[in-house]
């Protein structure tokens, strides 16, 4: 393709308009940054980026409103995890005493944040809505061991999930209702 180029006028060939234009642009930016503090730089440790909704940050475990671990050690996330960053130790046949109705809560749940690729498959695959990718994007540690987050750390970082369904609460109510005799007549 041949690009047609206009012949430069004498005035343009003098190179002066380009100089003036260049100076105007650079001066505008210079004065705006220096005198009015309009630098676009975000000075990181002091100022932090606010992530948009839907951002896939670090995956953390959550508890429900009644302070129960939502995870039931089904290990789907462990199997789906592409880089194999998750390792779950199930509670075994004895179950996990003191975990309320959710007797299948994991004995240990580890995520290696150095392996994690923040793909969000764990969140997607979880049938219990127990793991979520949160907004943390700056995970730091001084050694590799420190970057393997255990259950307690994941739970404390994850906080409480405001669950609308509250599946286990309803299960408990239903179980209680079955203990009541005579069974109330169906409405």
């Amino acid at each position: 393709m041949i690009v047609k180029r206009d012949k430069l006028t004498f005035w343009e060939r003098l190179y002066l308009p380009a100089l003036v234009g260049g100076f105007q642009v650079t001066w505008r930016h210079f004065s705006r940054t220096l005198f009015r503090g309009k630098a676009v730089t975000m000075e990181y440790p002091e100022q932090k980026w606010v992530v948009p909704p839907g951002y896939r940050g670090a995956p953390y475990l959550v508890k429900d409103q009644e302070d129960r671990t939502k995870c039931v050690s089904c290990q789907l996330c462990e199997f789906v995890c592409p880089p194999k960053a998750i390792r779950i130790t199930p509670p075994g046949p004895t179950g996990a005493p003191g975990s309320g109705n959710v007797e299948k809560g994991p004995k240990e749940f580890e995520i290696n944040m150095l392996r994690c690729i923040f793909c969000g498959f764990c969140q997607e695959v979880c049938p219990e809505e127990a793991i979520f990718l949160m907004k943390d994007y700056s995970l730091t540690g001084t050694n590799r061991q420190e970057m393997i987050y255990n259950k307690e750390k994941l739970l404390s970082l994850g906080g409480i999930h405001q669950d609308k369904i509250q599946k286990w609460k309803h299960k408990a109510d239903e179980a209680k209702a079955q203990d009541v005799f005579p069974v109330p007549p169906a409405k």
Partner: protein, 371 residues
């Protein structure tokens, strides 16, 4: 305030004789000039980084803090924001980095090239009068009668460092950088040399001190010879390899050009050489066209008789040099790079005839005035 000359201050020293005193004073002056020059180089780099940051809407270096000074309230954080300590960190970094010599380079030239770039930049300062006099001592390292010839001779050597670096590196990008540098040199240097001839026709000799005394009382040559100044200015950009004529370096095309294979202190020498060259070019322009250490008002046009006056003259000179330095830096972030055929076209087909015409017209006018 008139202090006794420095020679009598040193009276308690064993009598050095005339030559000894001259050597001692020259040594003191050399140490002073080199110290000021190196400091200016370091801080020119900082100014470059800050100005470029502001032009590009960034904040620039603002993190390096010294342990004690940084703790002073208000002042410490302010200086840190300014990046005042950044040159120290840069210098320490250059010394601590690994000085890597690739296996494929031509070792001798590889080691020689940074020095060959650096030395001419420093040698040129020797003939520039950077002040009138201090304690009765002329503020110029060597008051040569062939000042400008010396300068051009030395300045031309500077390009050998780059060509040598391009050859020594034994790889394609530095080689292209070296080729461009040599092509660039022959195209601007003739125009540069011809542009200053009218200046010396006006002054009558080649001594830079007499160029300055000719310009006393605001009779600055830039007003007599604006075309010569413009050509010299453009050629100075080409000589110092600054944008818009940084073809030997062109980071975007040649991954750094002639200095691609260099690291650590050798790279730092190239870097310092570039900035030292800018400073000497600025000093040359100030001396040749902008009155050197003189100012047309405030009684600064005659050589100083007092210590304060002498210091003021040095300050005026440095101030003018700094203005040019900022100009150099600003232009780098303002203009895109020329192609190197465009530079050669500019040098051979525009500036050469222009300077010749300028020379001729000046000669004719001077002849008419004389008759």
């Amino acid at each position: 305030m008139h202090l006794p000359p420095l020679i009598s201050l040193a009276a308690w020293l064993p009598d050095l004789g005339h030559d000894g005193n001259f050597a001692l004073l020259s040594l003191i002056k050399i140490v002073g000039v080199v110290a000021v020059l190196l400091t200016m180089v370091a801080y020119a780099v900082l100014v470059e980084r800050k100005v470029s940051a502001f032009i590009q809407d960034r904040v620039g270096p603002n993190r390096v803090a010294l342990p004690l000074i940084g703790n002073i309230p208000v002042l410490g954080p302010f200086l840190t924001r300014l990046g005042i300590w950044q040159p120290i960190a840069d210098g320490v970094k250059s010394f601590l980095k690994e000085d890597f010599t690739p296996n494929h380079v031509r070792k001798i030239y590889f080691w020689l090239a940074p020095a060959v770039t650096m030395i001419p930049a420093f040698l040129t300062v020797a003939v520039i009068p950077f002040g009138s006099n201090l304690n009765g001592e002329k503020m110029v390292l060597a008051d040569l009668d062939v000042g400008i010839l010396y300068t051009f001779g030395i300045v031309s050597l500077g390009v050998y460092g780059i060509v040598l670096a391009g050859y020594a590196a034994n790889s394609k990008y530095p080689f292209l950088g070296g080729i461009r540098s040599s092509a660039q040199m022959i195209s601007y240097e003739i125009a540069m040399g011809l542009s200053v001839i009218p200046v010396f026709m006006l002054v009558g000799n080649l001594n830079l001190s007499s160029v300055i005394s000719y310009q006393a009382d605001g009779n600055w040559i830039v007003f007599r010879q604006p075309i010569a100044f413009l050509v010299f200015l453009v050629a100075a950009f080409a000589e110092t390899n600054r944008l818009p004529f940084d073809m030997p370096e062109s980071e975007t095309e040649l991954v750094g050009g002639y200095n691609t294979e260099y690291s650590s202190m050798k790279f730092a020498l190239f870097f310092m050489g570039e900035y030292a060259n800018m400073i000497t070019s600025s000093a040359m322009m100030v001396t040749l066209f902008w009155g050197g250490w003189t100012l047309p008002f405030g009684g600064f046009s005659e050589p100083a008789t007092t210590l304060a006056g002498g210091l003021a003259h040095i300050g005026i000179f440095l101030g003018k040099v700094i203005v040019f330095m900022v100009f150099f830096i600003w232009v780098r972030w303002m203009l895109p790079r020329f192609r190197y055929d465009q530079l050669m076209d500019l040098g051979w087909r525009r500036f050469l005839p222009l300077t010749l015409a300028n020379l001729f017209v000046t000669a004719v006018i001077m002849w008419l005035q004389a008759h």
